[in-house]
């Protein structure tokens, strides 16, 4: 790899991670206990905020202070934080709880977004999914993009980006599948030997889904550092130098039948097919008991016991 090629590769990776944000719609960040995804979520939020977007955050798992830690003031001023951490179930009854519970908070969020490019971060979808019916959550997510589209015209549908943090050990395949079908992009975090990696599955409209793998780290200032990792087999790179081979050539069998061959094939009666001729043949009594007899010649070592003839059947 020449230096220029390496540089191009780096830019490509940069573009790929940015395209996670450039793509609108629902982006799922699926993390695990060992590879937490909140720092990546914060890095993506920072990128969106620096791009001049409004960022609305529904915080369920950490306090506002903990979430805002690490962002500089210019980013922090662009973040609108809906605090569902302090009193999500209204136990304290201080009147500070968000009205309508978690679902109401989710709906209130999109009421308050202005038309224009908006990023909504859900920290985390897992928290909501454990406490709300899956169907209600999916409907709320759909309604969110619909309402945004209604307010800003047809263009605005593409201007809403929902980043949802999902802890993948916590949910069964059912809810995971339901959310996946709503998502345009799924980022699955994992890693080896202290190095985090992200598998990014993108579903672009009218295109085949693509799967990319990136090695990354989130720096203390919450910027993303993308690294060149070892080449990964999951990247579908069509190599232009490989000649296209026709898989149908050099076959040892026919893929197609001629008209005559097809007629011959159709007229053949297979042994397991039951016909009226066969039925008659079976029902007709045989010529006599003398013509069908069973001959049995015992083997030399057979142990025949006239007292118990079925002894070898082990019953």
């Amino acid at each position: 790899v020449t230096p220029s090629e390496g540089a191009r590769g780096g830019t490509g990776r940069q573009l790929e991670m940015e395209s996670v944000l450039a793509l609108r719609g629902l982006v799922l960040l699926r993390d695990s206990v060992e590879w937490e995804g909140r720092s990546l979520l914060k890095a993506l939020i920072k990128k969106a905020a620096l791009g001049g977007e409004q960022v609305h955050i529904l915080g369920c798992e950490v306090s506002e202070e903990e979430f805002r830690a690490g962002f500089d003031s210019s980013v922090n001023s662009r973040l609108v934080y809906y605090d569902l951490f302090r009193d999500p179930l209204n136990w304290a009854q201080t009147g500070e709880a968000l009205p309508g519970g978690p679902l109401g908070a989710l709906q209130a969020m999109c009421e308050r977004t202005d038309p224009g490019p908006v990023t909504v971060a859900l920290d985390s979808l897992s928290w909501l999914l454990l406490r709300l019916p899956c169907a209600a959550l999916c409907q709320a997510l759909c309604a969110m993009s619909r309402r945004h589209a209604c307010r800003g015209g047809s263009l605005a549908a593409e201007q809403l980006c929902v980043l949802g943090l999902l802890h993948r050990e916590l949910h069964g395949p059912g809810p995971m599948g339901a959310l996946s079908s709503l998502a345009q992009t799924e980022v699955t975090l994992s890693g080896t030997a202290g190095q985090a990696s992200a598998h990014i599955l993108c579903r672009r409209p009218r295109q085949r889904p693509t799967l990319e793998t990136l090695w990354f780290s989130v720096l203390p200032d919450l910027s993303l550092d993308l690294q060149g990792g070892p080449p990964l087999e999951s990247q579908p790179h069509p190599d232009p130098h490989t000649p296209q081979v026709d898989p149908a050539s050099h076959l040892t069998f026919n893929l197609h039948l001629s008209k005559r061959e097809r007629e011959a094939k159709d007229s053949l009666t297979l042994p397991f097919q039951f016909s009226s001729e066969k039925q008659q043949a079976l029902l007709r009594p045989g010529p006599g008991p003398a013509t069908s007899r069973i001959f049995y010649e015992p083997d030399t070592f057979d142990d025949l016991d006239p007292e118990d003839p079925d002894g070898d059947l082990d019953v």
């Binding site: 590879w35 937490e36 951490f85 454990l130 406490r131 919450l222």
Partner: protein
């Protein structure tokens, strides 16, 4: 005499974490045991926080007060004295679970859920913790950060609560103890190793995602051994360390002794060397 003897204490990140735990910076530590008994970790943290002059609320659902007191005395703390001087608030689950049935219904009880047929949440237990760790203004004894200790959360599942109800309880405790009062929470959860036990898995994984430090005691895969009692996996999930290249997980083997636990690197037991 230190619990974390040997190589473990030498790692600088460990000492940083320990300072954070002692100073009380709003940390949740999850203790987890799989195929072994992790209660030695509970005894350690109980004596550790009492010695550090922290105000401790101990929700003990597994053993009696005298059991914890006897072990505590071996580790150099007296639970009786700590309780008398107000440093320790001890909820003895074994004893007070009987009280729930012999008192007027109107009186609130932390273990109220035992009496209700369709108890949906652990709010009374949370109220008890909040009251126990309320900062006092009289100034007679200035304790350091408040600490909530639970032994153990899996029992709440066995008593009929759902995993989400237990997660909600810890969520509110985090909001009050860790965030509002800058204290710490230490809780033990069993890992049954049974993938069919969905509720326990949700509880364990849900808590793992909320915790800053996970200490996981595991029995040896090769079975019982006289000189090595198990291994301890340490996983840091501190948000102050973003996902960069880091040494986030360590594994040590341990041997529980009469008054302490010795740790050594894998395969480096003094009995082997």
């Amino acid at each position: 005499r230190s619990f974390w003897k040997g190589s473990l204490a030498s790692a600088s990140s460990v000492s940083t974490t320990w300072t954070e735990l002692r100073e009380g910076l709003g940390k949740l530590t999850l203790l987890c045991d799989a195929n072994t008994d992790g209660s030695f970790l509970v005894h350690h943290f109980l004596s550790f926080y009492l010695k550090a002059n922290c105000k401790v609320c101990f929700v003990a659902l597994i053993q009696s007060f005298s059991h914890y007191n006897i072990v505590g005395q071996k580790l150099g703390v007296s639970l009786t004295v700590a309780r008398e001087c107000g440093q320790l608030v001890f909820l003895e689950g074994l004893k007070s679970s009987v009280d729930v049935f012999f008192r007027a219904q109107a009186e609130p009880h932390p273990l109220q859920f035992l009496r209700e047929a369709n108890a949906e949440n652990l709010q009374p237990l949370y109220e008890f913790v909040r009251e126990a760790l309320k900062p006092v203004d009289d100034g007679e004894a200035a304790w350091r950060c408040p600490v909530l200790l639970v032994d153990d959360l899996s029992v709440l599942l066995s008593l009929g609560m759902g995993a989400v109800a237990v997660l909600d309880f810890i969520h509110y405790c985090r909001a009050t103890v860790c965030w509002e009062r800058k204290g710490n929470i230490v809780a033990l959860v069993h890992d049954s190793g049974d993938t069919e036990d969905e509720e326990n898995n949700i509880l364990l994984n849900g808590l793992s995602h909320q915790s800053h430090l996970i200490l996981r005691a595991e029995g040896l895969a090769t079975g019982f051994c006289r000189d090595v009692h198990g291994q301890l996996r340490i996983l840091w999930r501190t948000p102050s360390q973003p996902t960069t290249q880091r040494d986030q997980s360590l594994t040590y083997q341990y041997k529980i002794q009469d008054k302490s636990v010795s740790f050594f690197a894998k395969g480096m037991s003094p009995a082997v060397l």
